[in-house]
């Protein structure tokens, strides 16, 4: 069995493969368009929401009609599966004909892929034609993703902000800060919970709480070091210790993710849920998943904000096609449609003031939906702590609360 022998050798000894640099320059856009025509772009993106899937299908139809690029949405339950695919291909030495062309990503996944050289280099996002409308001046998270510089290795696709929502029909006063939330939980035993870290939403909740409770916020922008971490997180864990016995199920179990938490709100098991998408509640109402009386709110002191992106793996087979799709997703037309709550409701990454009048007016006219806060109502944006804080927070949370007594 010579083939098996070869496989065995490759498995034991191999896994080598250099990440190749790349000759074509996105500044020469006509050349990119010419090369992209006829390519098929496999866009690996979370497929858990029908409206988002429909939006991606629409975008695919558009680039097919305009540039002859076919888009196939590979629906994932977890972005990690696409990352796993790229890692396996790198291990197998497949450095040019990879099966992932574009991937929906942000934060930790981006940092990990960048660190492992799994992304197409050099940076390309800032050379795309539609970059000129991107609002990187007032939206700093477009250039720095969870404190990791994007370096043009990923193109911004949408903005995210932590928003809470509740059912106004239940007539409860809502907290306006993490400290108030702790008191609220004590006063309403069993009616609040959060997804168990390291779930993305659960960890984000911890970060929100950490930023609010830390005595000195400036240390959070730096890598977490021994001593500083304990000092900065002491108030947070003291508050969690107080709060946990009053949580849903007495804090003996936690929902798996934000979807499970939203279902608990719908089932009247809890009274507050939260998400990173300002349109989450409106979409869920339109979809019959939440009551008509659900509304959103934020903390007046600010909530976490970040950006989500699309990135091209280092070994993408249809990299030109991927560039064309990434550029289209940033276009005023695509961004306008995406912000329409009847379609998706995801906030734009563009500076709408810089757009041609027709688009500017269209953005202004958008009715964002019953439960969606206007951009001006979303409150101050808190920036993500350095990625190392999240890792340490998740470890410490698991150590303290991951195993019931």
């Amino acid at each position: 069995m010579p083939m098996f022998f070869r496989l065995f050798l490759a498995t034991c000894l191999g896994f080598v493969g250099a990440s190749g640099a790349w000759a074509l320059d996105p500044s020469d856009w006509p050349a990119i368009l010419a090369k992209a025509r006829g390519q098929t772009v496999y866009f690996h993106a979370w497929g858990g929401a029908r409206n988002i899937n429909d939006y991606i299908a629409w975008a695919g139809d558009q680039v097919k009609a305009r540039h002859g690029v076919t888009v196939v949405h590979v629906k994932l339950d977890d972005t990690a599966n696409a990352v796993a695919k790229i890692v396996a291909e790198k291990a197998a030495g497949i450095d040019a004909a990879g099966s992932v062309d574009l991937i929906w990503i942000n934060g930790e996944n981006f940092a990990a892929m960048k660190r492992r050289d799994l992304l197409l280099k050099p940076g390309w996002a800032e050379k795309l034609p539609n970059w000129r409308h991107v609002d990187w001046r007032t939206k700093p998270t477009i250039l720095v993703d969870f404190t990791t510089p994007t370096d043009g290795l990923e193109a911004p696709w949408g903005m995210a902000k932590l928003v809470f929502f509740h059912d106004t029909a239940r007539g409860l006063a809502m907290p306006d800060s993490f400290a108030e939330l702790v008191e609220w939980a004590k006063a309403h035993p069993g009616r609040f919970t959060y997804p168990a870290p390291p779930d993305f939403m659960g960890s984000s909740f911890l970060k929100q709480a950490l930023i609010e409770s830390a005595a000195d916020r400036s240390v959070l922008a730096e890598p977490a070091v021994e001593g500083e971490f304990e000092k900065a997180t002491a108030p947070l864990f003291a508050a969690l210790d107080t709060m946990h016995p009053h949580l849903w199920r007495g804090g003996r179990t936690f929902p798996k993710n934000k979807e499970a938490m939203r279902q608990l709100l719908a089932d009247d098991e809890i009274d507050i849920a939260f998400a990173f998408s300002p349109a989450e509640a409106s979409n869920a109402i339109a979809n019959g998943e939440l009551a008509e009386t659900v509304r959103s709110f934020v903390f007046s002191g600010g909530t976490l904000a970040n950006t989500h992106f699309v990135a091209i793996p280092y070994n993408a087979a249809a990299r030109e096609g991927a560039l064309v799709l990434a550029d289209f997703l940033m276009s005023p037309e695509a961004q306008l449609r995406k912000q329409d709550p009847a379609v998706w409701g995801d906030p734009t990454v563009l500076d709408t003031a810089s757009l041609p009048a027709e688009y500017r007016d269209a953005f202004d006219r958008l009715d964002l939906g019953v439960a969606t806060l206007r951009p001006a109502e979303l409150g101050p944006a808190l920036t993500e702590p350095h990625a190392s804080w999240m890792t340490r927070l998740e470890e410490e949370w698991t150590r303290r609360y991951g195993v019931a007594n």
Binding site: F4, T11, W46, A80, A84, V87, E89, R116, E269, G288
Partner: protein, 570 residues
């Protein structure tokens, strides 16, 4: 002894082919897990062998508790399911109630694990359907009580979820084995000596039956001790069972976690092996007890409560799954539906109208891959078995466990490496690769369900045919194949169902190029919308159900005029 004619090439190479198809992917998959577990994975910067991943693994809080839960789930649910099956088969065989429940329970095999678990979770949760039925009228609850039922720390909800899926599998496997050991004759003899139904069966027929189903029991232990889908939905969370945490580490954005995840995968493998070893130890003890019981001469004639309990457990298991599916079906037509309404206030076809158009291609791909993998598996299995019949060598006798490796080794511990093997072989992402990957999981089940009926076929038919001048080929095509048609169709239906259930192999090895009903279902289910889950649970269940239906109807119609060829009960 007359010299045997040479075997056709297809038969001669069949066992080697079967072993290559099964063992090679699993073997490479395991290698690609073992190396990173010891720090070796250059693509992620691991270029020296070290024990660091193990140190990291062992330092994980609650690791042993996770392992203990998995071990307990593997052993307890299997023991409970088997006990219920024995008591039910022993206490109720040849009764009308038995036949009724038998028909009720067979379709349960085609219910996907995750769908069954989802249904049960919605049934038993404090805000679930049972509570909605009686609230607020009987309970006074206007809002759901804060009770920890689903995700309980002891894993009872998870074990119940596993049990209801293991029961039908073990039941049908046992039913298939009974005719071979002529259990009814033994039971009749025991009865004439004054033994109760259950005692008579357990003391006489069971020791003959058990060896026939032992592999299936091991497969159940392996599945229950490493289940991910059911455990995520119903299992404990602080900590979660080992397999669930393993998948979390594997999916962690921090790629360095994959080293620890690989070490964890080996721990899972060891855990499953331990569970099986403990079970084998239990078998010995049970055998000793059984002999004592036998010698004691006790007749156990007052068995009413035991019989009732067995029937109750089996019926409850079937009822739970059906009720769960029924409420999921209701969800798929629901508008907004909150506690404490027992039925949704508005019913709508929206979700079905929205989901169905997108299902055409996944359905076609699912059926195509399923049929291809099943056809290959049946062909290989038949070739292996026919070779055994002609040469008298038993493939199972020589290398029994290699063929069943994919059933015994937890999927999470080798799928990633298997993907690597396919990539290195240069057939990544092709439909051929997906079919081969499915074959790895389909073939053992087809072999498992085919080999017993095959060996049970009276060899004298072949001898009679040969004495009438039929060659080996003619005997195969005109005697064995038609006589076993029913069993072959059932084996094919089982294989088809297994193929449809594959998620990770389809996604990873097919690189998302071949969306199936299951990959779509899992992706959409991650959005947590119960109504979408209801739609997909139905579609996912429909295909295997059709498979089983064809497998029952075709022989019934084809052999309408040949009573003894018809499958029992049809």
């Amino acid at each position: 002894m007359p010299t045997r004619p040479p075997l056709p090439v297809a038969l001669a190479v069949a066992p080697a082919l079967a072993i290559a198809v099964l063992a090679a992917p699993v073997g490479f998959g395991l290698i690609a897990t073992v190396l990173p577990a010891f720090g070796w994975f250059p693509a992620l910067g691991g270029e020296t062998l070290s024990l660091a991943p193990w140190r990291e693994l062992l330092a994980t809080p609650g690791l042993w508790r996770s392992a203990a839960i998995s071990l307990a789930a593997g052993l307890l649910t299997t023991a409970a399911a088997l006990a219920a099956v024995i008591a039910f088969v022993a206490g109720w065989s040849h009764t009308r109630a038995f036949r009724a429940i038998q028909h009720l329970i067979s379709p349960l095999l085609s219910v996907p694990h995750a769908a069954a678990a989802f249904g049960i979770a919605f049934l038993i949760a404090p805000s679930g359907w049972l509570m909605r039925l009686v609230s607020p009228e009987l309970t006074g609850f206007a809002r759901p009580p804060d009770w920890l039922i689903v995700n309980d720390p002891w894993g009872l909800a998870m074990m119940a979820g596993l049990l209801v899926k293991e029961l039908p599998f073990l039941f049908l496997v046992t039913l298939a084995a009974l005719p071979q050991v002529r259990s009814h004759l033994h039971v009749r003899t025991a009865a004439s000596l004054g033994y109760g139904r259950i005692a008579g069966f357990v003391l006489t027929a069971w020791p003959l039956t058990y060896p026939q189903i032992r592999l299936a029991v091991f497969a159940v232990i392996a599945y229950a001790s490493s289940a991910v889908d059911v455990a995520i939905i119903l299992g404990p969370t602080r900590p979660a069972p080992l397999a669930v945490r393993l998948v979390e580490w594997m999916n962690d954005p921090d790629l360095a976690m994959r080293f620890k995840a690989s070490a964890g995968a080996l721990l899972q493998l060891g855990l499953t092996a331990t569970a099986i070893l403990l079970w084998v130890g239990g078998e010995r003890i049970a055998a000793v007890l059984l002999r004592r019981l036998c010698r004691s001469g006790r007749r156990f004639r007052r068995e009413g409560p035991a019989r009732l309990a067995a029937a109750a457990v089996v019926t409850a298991a079937a009822a739970a799954v059906f009720a769960g599916l029924a409420v999921l079906a209701l969800w798929s037509f629901a508008g907004y539906w909150s506690f404490p309404d027992a039925v949704p206030r508005t019913l709508t076809l929206d979700i079905w109208r929205r989901e169905l158009p997108g299902l055409t291609r996944p359905l076609a791909v699912t059926v195509g891959i399923g049929l291809a993998a099943t056809a290959l598996a049946v062909a290989i299995a038949l070739a292996c078995l026919e070779r055994e019949s002609r040469t008298g060598e038993r493939v199972r006798g020589r290398s029994p466990y290699i063929l069943y490796l994919p059933l015994l080794v937890p999927q999470v511990s080798f799928v990633f490496g298997m993907q690597l093997a396919f990539l290195l072989a240069g057939i990544g992402a092709s439909i051929l690769a997906v079919v081969l990957a499915h074959l790895v999981f389909v073939l053992p089940y087809v072999l498992l369900s085919l080999s017993d009926p095959w060996h049970a076929l009276d060899p004298r038919y072949a001898r009679v045919a040969a004495s009438l001048g039929a060659g080996a080929g003619l005997v195969f095509w005109r005697v064995r194949l038609p006589m076993l048609a029913a069993a072959i169709l059932v084996g094919a239906a089982v294989g088809f169902a297994v193929s449809i259930g594959q998620y990770l192999p389809t996604l990873l090895i097919g690189a998302g190029r071949w969306p199936t009903v299951t990959t779509e279902a899992v992706a959409l289910a991650s959005g947590g919308d119960r109504r979408v889950i209801g739609v997909y649970a139905f579609v996912q269940m429909l295909l295997p159900f059709l498979g089983f239906m064809i497998a029952t109807l075709v022989p019934a119609v084809a052999f309408m005029r040949r009573r003894d060829m018809r499958p029992a009960g049809a």
